[in-house]
Symmetry: C2
Subunit: 308 residues, 2 copies
Amino acid sequence: MIDRLIEKIKKTGAPIVVGLDPMLSYVPEYIQKKSFAEYGETLEGAADAVWNFNREIIDATYDLIPAVKPQVAMYEQFGVEGMRAFQRTVAYCHEKDLVVIGDVKRGDIGSTSAAYAAGHLGSVQVGSRTYAPFDEDFITVNPYLGTDGIKPFADVCKEKKKGLFILVKTSNPSSGEFQDRLIDGKPLYEHVAEKVAAWGADCMGDSYSQIGAVVGATYPEIGKALRKVMPKSFILVPGYGAQGGKGKDLVHYFNEDGLGAIVNSSRGIIAAYRQDAYARFGAENFADASRQAVIDMIEDIGSAIAAR
Amino acid sequence: MIDRLIEKIKKTGAPIVVGLDPMLSYVPEYIQKKSFAEYGETLEGAADAVWNFNREIIDATYDLIPAVKPQVAMYEQFGVEGMRAFQRTVAYCHEKDLVVIGDVKRGDIGSTSAAYAAGHLGSVQVGSRTYAPFDEDFITVNPYLGTDGIKPFADVCKEKKKGLFILVKTSNPSSGEFQDRLIDGKPLYEHVAEKVAAWGADCMGDSYSQIGAVVGATYPEIGKALRKVMPKSFILVPGYGAQGGKGKDLVHYFNEDGLGAIVNSSRGIIAAYRQDAYARFGAENFADASRQAVIDMIEDIGSAIAAR
């Protein structure tokens, strides 16, 4: 899957990913009203509104981008119906030939990680039939449990040519509380990065590993250092835009080949119409605002890489 | 919720929790066949089989135990239909007045943790209506992102009197890979435990905090040490039984008041009928085997505590 991601990045010239993390408050009122008219003010209605919102954004941006990253929490908060909207979103993105990174941050003891891996990346057996329930291409994984919590995910990646992004240094303000603490003179995140490189060595695509890392845009010096620790691992970079990261801060997340990183923006794209810069589009043209925000983000990152 | 958990532990005399982590292979064939006859060999069929399996185990054990711990991965692997079985299981356990610990191990940046907290412990707003989608009483949470990833969960706990168990030292073989590494002379798990105590101080019930910790049964010396680091935090102890932990190893997870810990067994209870010790019950009486395994576990832990 990493090879397909790279192929799509080259084709679009856009090392970016659109985070499909819809809060209900981002969904324009006229879409909510239509869904509520059909399903009532129910979880089904909320999920339908979210799905319709996503669909329009996907339709307006899919030709410009290689990948999307739906954040499952935003769907899970609406219960079973929300999970159905998540599943529909993943399936629709596949129809549009987008690579789908499920931002699920799962991770557990071996047998439990195996169940998550089956549900999100692989397949489950039911009697004589086989199903791929959520069928993302990549998922994000939490490393706190160590190798045997990661291995079941890596095994499915090898078998099904899927991929992982493992949390190394997260974008949030308190990420340093544990991740930055020094162990034998090196921060915890660097130890995790070394493991990511080791796990990834056993799971190579053509030029990069199926196993990548998450390193937040909000810590550019750390991104620069970690780039060297995991030369064969793609870095998924959250925190661009609304969380404060800018294109010029991110050039060192990329390798010399111009590859090796993919930068996510969620709110900055999907709720672009609510920003001053895109207010001219209006709520009824929210998807056009998202398209323009994607174009601007590609330009910001592209020109920063060109200028380095 | 911690006060209700303690009240139920005192009433049952059973500081234990039954892990409802059904692999499809644990579900006796006659139950699978019945579900497949109704729904086909589909995800819906698998979810129905799991739900019927759970229901019989709950019916056979609920009067003996204070709490259950469904592991969401075992449901999530069957997609949307699996999540519906998870939700039905939680709701049915509430009908039986059981405390429900959702073993979800979620954890993300603040805004995302807030969505998980809403979906699992709190409620979401849809138009003028409010829903509590999964409505567990406690959930497990991963600490890797630090305070701002925990705070949204803690806020919901304070508002709704619900609770958390935060991963400190997990039961799996490789848990030490990061968790045992020394930072300023103390293992990472101890730093996390100190944070759990600090987060918990702001979230107290009558005698214990709403915020507890997960410490695996497989590391009894660490359990003994961590008991002192977090005197007001309940410890959820996985790894008893099938993973190797025994009652006598666990006495130091409890405080002098005989409280402070709750020991989970999953496979050892729900798949008891497949063990030699309970084979006499046969697959058709699997729930009676589970009941006997619960009685034996209560005796094992109770006598160990009495003998210390």
